[in-house]
Amino acid sequence: MIKDCKFIYFFYFFLLFLSVLFTITSSYLNKILIDVLQAQENLGGIGTPIKDLSLLGNDTNILTTFFITIFGGIEFLSSNLWMFAVLIIGFALIAAATIITRMIMRSSFMNKMSKNLQLLLFSHIERLPYSKIKGMKNGDIIQTCTRDEDILRRFAGPDIALIVYTFYIVLLSFIFLAITNWMIALVSVCVLPLMFIYSFFVIKEVRKRYRLTDDSEANMTDKIEENLASVRLVKAFNNETYEINSFEKYITDFRNKYLNWRKLSAFFFASSDVFVFSQIALTTIFGFVLCFNNEISVGTLFVSFTFVNLMVWPVRDVATVLSNLARANASLDRINLILDEPLEDTETGLTPKIKGNIEFNNVSFFFCDSNQAAIENVSFSVKEGQTIAIMGKTGSGKSTLAYLLTRLYDYTSGSIKINGVELKEIQKTHLRRNISIVLQDPFLFSKTIKDNIRIAKQDANDKDIVLATSISQIHSNILQFPNGYDTPVGEKGTTLSGGQKQRVAIARTLLSDAPVLIFDDSLSALDTETDYNIRKALKEKSRERTTFIITHRIATAKDADLILVLDNGKISEMGKHQDLINQEGLYKNIYDIQTKME
């Protein structure tokens, strides 16, 4: 991620360096100003021109000489004190410009990086094999894409910036002071390492207690959610008082953990303030001694406590950030865990012209964590244009068989040939565009009905869409919605009934005009009449399409060219309606009941 914007990242740190440099220089100018004023006081009053640099205090050095020379020399500066005012504003403006530039850059690359990471993660998740993603918890995936990504983004943005900023400020302050006087330089940083180590460790404990508090608060929220979800029970059982009392327990637990945490965090601030103010006091007092002994000027005394003030606070904050490093690491690990999963290969493979001749030969399939076959030695063959009905009890392998055809699962042994080409050789995207399945639990996206229908075929025109919705018997329903085809559905729109959803999903699938169509129990969610009309319309529109229908309705199955009855992954009965009702078995049994119940 960082590689993509390496240049901009380094340029950003360069700007950060410049802004620190300007801040430090600007403060250093105050030292020169004070020394000039002090010298003038000694010479007879503010405004007296100073002729010589040597009159300017006892620690004149390269820096002071340099600054005084480039800004017009000591005589000019001392007789025109307003120059300092101009310089201070000038530096502030330059510093502001660099800060603004770098902040904008930071925001830009931080957000771009975040976007890239989101995209990278999503495109990876989207392309994981179905069997893999089925085994992952949706909540975990979303956490990684949101919280972990956020932690990394903060780390790569503000956190690293703070670390580098602190490094620069300590380094430059120290250099400026050391050039002026090495003793004051050493004294002004001597408490910092101690404070850093102290903070680093105490913060760890503070965070531990914070986490306990956070957990306790989460428990409290769970309790609130539980109470709201069970409101009928609470009232029906007249347990209001009990609920209030048990909530009180959560409050007490939270309160104790919260106070425990806050006690330590307040102690941390108070105790690290001792370091902070000791550092300031030490510098002030030691600076005074050096000043008394004529080692440094009053201006240096002033600038040293300005610098100390610039240094101490960020150092404490860096300790906080670094003690939090483990969290960023854990987030990175979780992100890599997803990114390291091998992707489903949807792109390589043959792209033969697919027609509906399909041959199953001894096909078996095992789920990876099971030694019980979900599909066992299934063999049958289908010709283009035929309709195949699949029946069987729950768990008999009907849906699994359909998933094998679209390669949501890959069969373990045997062979499936489509127009003579082995299914496993065919590119998955190509295959899925040609073998369309209407799932049992169809999923509609939070879009308009129209966008949902044409999601797989964006360039479909209105005529194609109406044709598909007419076949799936939903066109007239859609027109009844207030916004017709532009009615939004899903979470943020109109709630469709199960049957309406199912028919929209059928239209969506039909739009792709695939030569092989699978209805995974999706017609049987509709009433018998709609079921019949859809099948009739389908037959009329396209005679060469091969259709698989998983159903529990004899009425639906009986017109099929081939009926398969599955039992425990094996074919227990196979044939046409007339053959099957003349032999004992599940099919005949159901047939008898359903005719009586018609």
Partner: protein, 646 residues
Amino acid sequence: MPVTSVFKEEEIQSKFSMVVWAKTFKYVFIKWPLLILLFVTMMFTSFYDASFIPSMNAGLISAFDGGQLTNFESIFDVILNVKILGIDLSFSFLNYIIFYVVMIILRSVAIFLTFFTMNYFEMIIMTGLRRDAYKRIQELSFSYFDRTPSGWLIARLQNDAANIGDVLSNSVLRIFWIATELVFTLITMFSYSWILSLIILATTPLIFFIVLFFQKVILKLSRIARTAYSEFVRWLAESISGNKTIKSLAIEETIYKECEEISTDVCKKRFKTGKVNAFFNPSINVLSAITTAIIIIVFPMINISNETTSTIAMMVLFLGFVGSIFNPIAQFAEIFAELISTQANVEKLFMLIDTKPELVDKPEVIEKYGSLFANKKESFEEMKGDITFNHVSFSYKSDLEVLHDMNIHITSGSSVAIVGETGSGKSTTVNLLCRFYEPTKGEILIDGVNYKNRSVGWLRSNIGYVQQTPFIFKGTIKDNIKYGKLDATDEEVINACKVVDLHNFIISLKDGYNTFLRDGGNELSQGQKQLISFARAIIRNPKLLILDEATSSIDTETEHVIQVAISKVLKGRTSIMIAHRLSTIVDCDRILVMKDGKIIEDGNHKTLMENHGYYYELYMNQFKDLNLEEQIRTFDEQITGKDVNL
């Protein structure tokens, strides 16, 4: 079916209102001694930062005035004159150091107390608000929950309470801190030089408005960015659940493009916030540089030194004052912006806390039977379980009647099922019977007495209620069953479980009755969870058992087990079962078929089926939707088994 109105989120107000905030103050004032302590420690910290440190530094620098230091042989002979808050103090160098060190320690103690007390207030406010809101939720009537999505309520208790706690303690209480800091800075400034002080003061309104402007804009923009981000999270969740569909339609490319669009939107909106944010600090820095520059220019024009403070010390002091006056002013503006943005939270939370429950007992009933929170069980009459609906009509909203002039009489001890399609009024009937709602017209008599003349507590202590989706509380199996009777003994728990055939399963678990259930009891099957609900209802030994679609969410595998349990628990009590799935009610003594708020058929399974009426129609429609094995079994049990002649 209750009409759930779409809950409208109120517009966020942008004008500060003291009235709104006043409601929160009682949570703070109950701890007034702490409040005083807080003010004292804040005052001390402000004094240290705003007066003590600058004055000490000025005293040190003044010592160099006119080369007087050369008069001293040793540094310990030096006398330092420090002017704090206009009071002149003289220290030897050693005393100066001691004074300094003592003050550092005192400040640390003060800052500890300040932070801790502020946090303590945060906790008190947060838990106080949550406690009150939670208590109110327990009291509120059902109609409130129909109108209000639980997500909204959770947001109030969760986010609003936390936000208000945070803002009150870290902003409102901090105002005092900032104010004292400002006062100390002003006193110190003016005690040194009023001209320079006025120059600095002149710029403060500008600072206030700059900060206020930025804060308002940034808050607004970041809210927009946050909304975009939550849209991304919503989209992400949707796309991950739709993964199977995405794959089978081979539309990975299209969905990826959507991801790109939506995360670009987030990126753009965040960047916009970032851009404005980038100007915030630098503009304050520039303003403070300008003020400094003005001081430098004015400085030589006036004579400002006095006996204790040298000209140089003055310079140093006022360079520092620029910063120390800007800080509190900026914080004031920040807090003000924060208050405005949190005001909506306060309003919403108090909207909840101030809601009055709609369904309450009459005062004379409370007098006799006690309130919802304190039942007077000794005056409860024993219930027989004879129910009469006398010309009962009901509407959730004034213009839409859902029950029309209903008359039923259910004799004590009979089992009655109410069936009908969604919206037929069957749930409403049960809602009225449990007194979750009261009839708009007519009356409901229990044992011949209008139930409004007895307390809600009396009625509900006689009801055993099982709802559609079995609910498992976080806790052990035993806790879950005891929820029906809080003081039940272990023996009673075991007996209840034996009745519903759950005992053997429970003791087969490693921890038996102490097995801890979390996440809504995910480790149990739906059927086992429902059996727990049954045990929970019958441990109350209720006179009136209400099964509110209790079998709807159960797969057919376990339906049989439930069926057996039901037939056992029905014995000896009046029971009302609402069922959408008809296969569960074929054994009932009496079936009431409802349509459009009226009872249109009344009889038992056999008579109603043979009648070929509305019940028959409902039954046949459902039969067709059953899967194969269900069809086979249902046919055996309910058609041939019940001797129904079709």
